[in-house]
Symmetry: C2
Subunit: 251 residues, 2 copies
DNA sequence: ACGGCCGTTCCCGTTCAATGGGAAGCGAGT
DNA sequence: ACTCGCTTCCCATTGAACGGGAACGGCCGT
């Protein structure tokens, strides 16, 4: 739309521009953005200027562009992610203080695991998850919980689709995966050794809201040798606390 | 622009739509959005639909609209706020564990104080600041620090402009404020009793990056009767730690 | 059953903002 | 002095966005 010869709306283009930014790529020139977003140079410059005017993007000491504070503000205030995070943070801190490993909170978003909070201990091991980062549903302990408790149709879609392995031990066989998910629903927890990285074990539990609906997954990443019993207990207790907290906030 | 009779660009309208959301107003109908954003009904519906298609907005169980997870994701990954927050969080947790009050991190944004993180103790007192919330620069301890260390022109602009009181004790006299700011630059700390709320005292210190530039303010909110000495010490130590952490991340 | 209210969806002729190619300006690197 | 890449300005073209209006459908009070 928007008079573009390529037939895209302005909105789509704005999203594509925002998509060119990432954890690694935090500042870029307007020309770079145009190239990455597939926009003609003059168009990219004009749109970037417009976004800067609105505060969605910032220009640093002349030239380069980065995500604007205003965008951050608009996206956060009143967002579901912030509410959930605020309710969960105290409990996550408690878990993290006891386990001294990585503690994460994730939600289901567009058939993927989206991590909305992560706490790490200085001495904890590797962990590829990032805040605002994604992993496939079948290839992370949090994702497995979300998939197990998600709607039927989602499960079928994911089980049907291509299941790529993130590590050699990622479960990609539909039948095995189906049994694994049934087990998660039965036990209310998943212990997933080597699913994301060979050296670590993910432990995840569902976080429920109000009358039972699973809205998030709480997980810990432990070195593979560590026993998982304590983590399961801590996560279960924390998840119960979070559920109570988000329930209480909605009278 | 964008063919609208009112002469606004699509980008401006999108921002106005996003602005209709807030901490209190987290879900609304498309018609509500249109009214609040001053858009014709059919236009509002079309634009909301477009934003939903792009994932910037989400539709809940039919009808109502809220901010989309995708927007949250795009705004956060690669944002300055997230980096700063990640570096600061461990130190903020430490401060909060010792003081058991409110601990906040704020940056300067568009001549206002923008709070990007806040930790609260269950037993702590009142605190009107919110994550992604704003306060005037002259009417919050964090803001005073940012104003004191901000560029000359900013200071003159704020001192000239109307200085509204948030509480009866907010300093609104330009001369007094100027002396207060000079004191903050000298001491590297501000203790502001009753500036935001009569019952509490704000204590704030600057967070510096690399070679001295102040990039944020770290603050605590204490009940007015509490001595501030310990808070000053804790905040100073934490700010030093944060500075080292963000310096280390940029080799 | 009825009618008003309101959110939503669909339609469609009008129109002007957005578009993008091109050229020129500006630094930095060689 | 030259190249290369980022940026800014210009401007004729055009079709996407616009928005008024009509119609649908759910809800509520009578």
């Amino acid at each position: 739309m928007a008079n573009s010869t390529s037939g895209e709306s302005v909105t789509e283009r704005i999203v594509r521009i925002l998509e060119t930014f990432g954890t690694d790529r935090t500042v870029q020139t307007a020309a770079e953005i145009g190239r990455r977003a597939g926009l003609p140079s003059s168009t990219a410059h004009r749109m970037v200027a417009e976004l800067v005017d609105c505060g969605l993007l910032d220009r640093d000491e002349e030239q380069r562009v980065r995500l604007g504070m205003r965008l951050w503000e608009l996206a956060l205030r009143g967002s579901r992610a912030l509410r959930l995070r605020q309710a969960a943070l105290p409990f996550m801190e408690h878990v993290q203080a006891r386990l001294r490993e990585h503690t994460q909170l994730a939600v289901l978003e567009n058939d993927e695991t989206l991590f909305i909070e992560r706490l790490s201990h200085p001495h904890a091991g590797a962990n590829i998850t990032r805040i605002a980062g994604r992993l496939p549903l079948h290839a992370s302990s949090s994702g497995l919980v979300l998939l197990a408790h998600g709607p039927e149709e989602l499960r079928e879609r994911v089980l049907a689709g291509p299941l790529e392995a993130v590590s050699p031990e990622t479960v990609t066989d539909p039948a095995r995966l189906r049994r694994l998910l049934a087990g998660i629903r039965r036990d209310g927890v998943v212990v997933a050794p080597g699913t994301v990285e060979a050296v670590s074990t993910g432990v995840a539990v569902p976080v429920r809201e109000g009358r039972g609906e699973v809205v998030a997954a709480l997980s810990a990443v432990l070195p593979r040798a560590t026993p998982t019993g304590r983590a399961v207990e801590e996560l279960r207790a924390a998840a119960a606390g979070i559920s109570a907290a988000i329930g209480a906030h909605r009278p």
